[in-house]
């Protein structure tokens, strides 16, 4: 009996020891498992963070891509964009003219115009205009192999035309031949128009530039024929422009100082100034920087002409 009791006691002790051991083992496993779970949770949190970062990156990249696509789309129709921007620039000029005329602003505009070119000196004139960041207007004739004169400078002229157009200057039509006399451009209105259109086609065919501003050789008051020509200009989409200041280089060779003074001393009361010059004159070339700075000092903004300007008729 005692033996049985003893066996039961021993069994109970063994069971208790085992229970204790099991408890310890389970606790150890618990600690290990807990560490594993914590590690996995950390991994999960890290992955979530990575996903969050990558999603943020996706948003950023998508925004950049969208902007790039918009930029790409904006380039697809260059012609329209250029036309719009050019039109907006001329609209700004016309707005400014209107404000000047209504007295809303004390700013003034000067349109520098160069007649009768191209000449071999024209590139030097363009250099000066570039240096002073001025856009001007060039009323050019048809000087090419076909007209049989100045053939030796055809390459230079070609460069001049291209530079005028690509730099944002205005290219105007000054007739093809610029001839005076009985067989000149003023012999009849029809002849004048034909001569004018000949030059327009020459410029358009070679450079893709459509001239819309013209100047009569000698000015609109030079011939009794001009009153017959003027009404017909509108039909061929032209406006004409004269001038209200000049260097005088077309009349007589004078010093650069005189040319400068001729312009700067004759600006009083002229809020919109159209200056006549010729880009063949070396003294005009010398005077040009002083004319530009002088006009700017007098408050003039130097701009290229457009066919909607009040200076045009």
């Amino acid at each position: 009996m005692e033996k049985t009791e003893r066996a039961v006691k021993i069994t109970a002790i063994i069971l208790n020891v085992c229970s204790l051991l099991m408890t310890v083992i389970i606790f150890c496993f618990y600690l290990k498992f807990d560490r594993n779970i914590i590690e996995l949770k950390k991994q999960n949190a890290f992955l979530d963070e990575q996903i969050e970062q990558q999603n943020q990156l996706t948003d950023d990249l998508s925004a950049v891509y969208k902007t790039k696509l918009e930029e790409l789309d904006s380039y697809k129709d260059f012609e329209e964009l250029i036309l719009n921007e050019k039109e907006a620039y001329y609209n700004d000029i016309i707005d400014l003219e209107q404000k000047i005329l209504s007295g809303e602003t004390n700013k003034k505009i000067a349109y520098l115009t160069f007649d009768d070119g191209p000449y071999r000196l024209s590139e030097s004139f363009l250099d000066v205009l570039d240096e002073y960041e001025v856009r001007a207007t060039f009323f050019y004739l048809m000087k090419c192999e076909a007209t049989g004169y100045d053939e030796e400078f055809s390459d230079v002229y070609d460069r001049v035309y291209r530079r005028i157009i690509s730099s944002g200057h205005t290219l105007g039509n000054h007739t093809a031949s610029h001839k005076f006399g009985e067989e000149g451009v003023y012999q009849s209105a029809d002849y004048f128009i034909q001569d004018l259109l000949k030059n327009r086609s020459f410029i358009y065919d070679r450079y893709g530039y459509k001239t819309t501003v013209m100047r009569f050789p000698g000015g609109s008051g030079t011939s009794s024929m001009t009153p017959y020509i003027i009404p017909r200009l509108k039909d061929i989409n032209y406006v004409y422009v004269d001038w209200n200041a000049e260097t005088g280089d077309g009349k007589k060779v004078m010093s650069a100082e005189t040319y400068t003074a001729n312009v700067l001393n004759n600006t009083e009361g002229k809020n919109i100034l159209v200056v006549l010059m010729h880009d063949y004159s070396e003294n005009t070339l010398k005077a040009l920087p002083d004319i530009i700075t002088g006009l700017r000092k007098q408050g003039y903004i130097l701009l290229p002409l457009c066919n909607r300007s009040v200076a045009c008729h």
Binding site: V8, S19, Q54, N55, Y89
Partner: protein, 98 residues
């Protein structure tokens, strides 16, 4: 009386032993379930991360392609012309504000 007490201790020891084993087994299953759950979640997260990274690489490639196209447009003469008119407008604006 003494015998009854010994038997009670034995039964109690057996009960405790079994209880501890049951707790251990239950704990293990709970752990295994939790571990599986987190591992599945991690696996899904890894796949999702991979997909997002691939998406980003794809968008980056598209941006590069678009950049190349934009650069080709910028090298176009007409881009210069467009830039010129924009510059002239800016110049006029600054002259008017000065």
């Amino acid at each position: 009386m003494k015998r009854n007490r010994t038997s009670f201790v034995l039964y109690l020891s057996i009960f405790v032993f079994l209880l501890i084993i049951a707790i251990g087994v239950l704990g293990y299953f709970l752990y295994a379930g939790k571990k599986d759950e987190i591992e599945v979640a991690n696996s899904l997260s890894e796949k999702q991360l991979q997909l997002v990274i691939e998406d980003n690489e794809l968008i980056s490639e598209k941006i590069s392609e678009t950049d190349e196209k934009i650069e080709r447009y910028r090298q176009d003469d007409r881009y210069e012309e467009l830039a010129l008119w924009k510059r002239l407008r800016e110049q006029l604006k600054s002259q008017l504000s000065s």
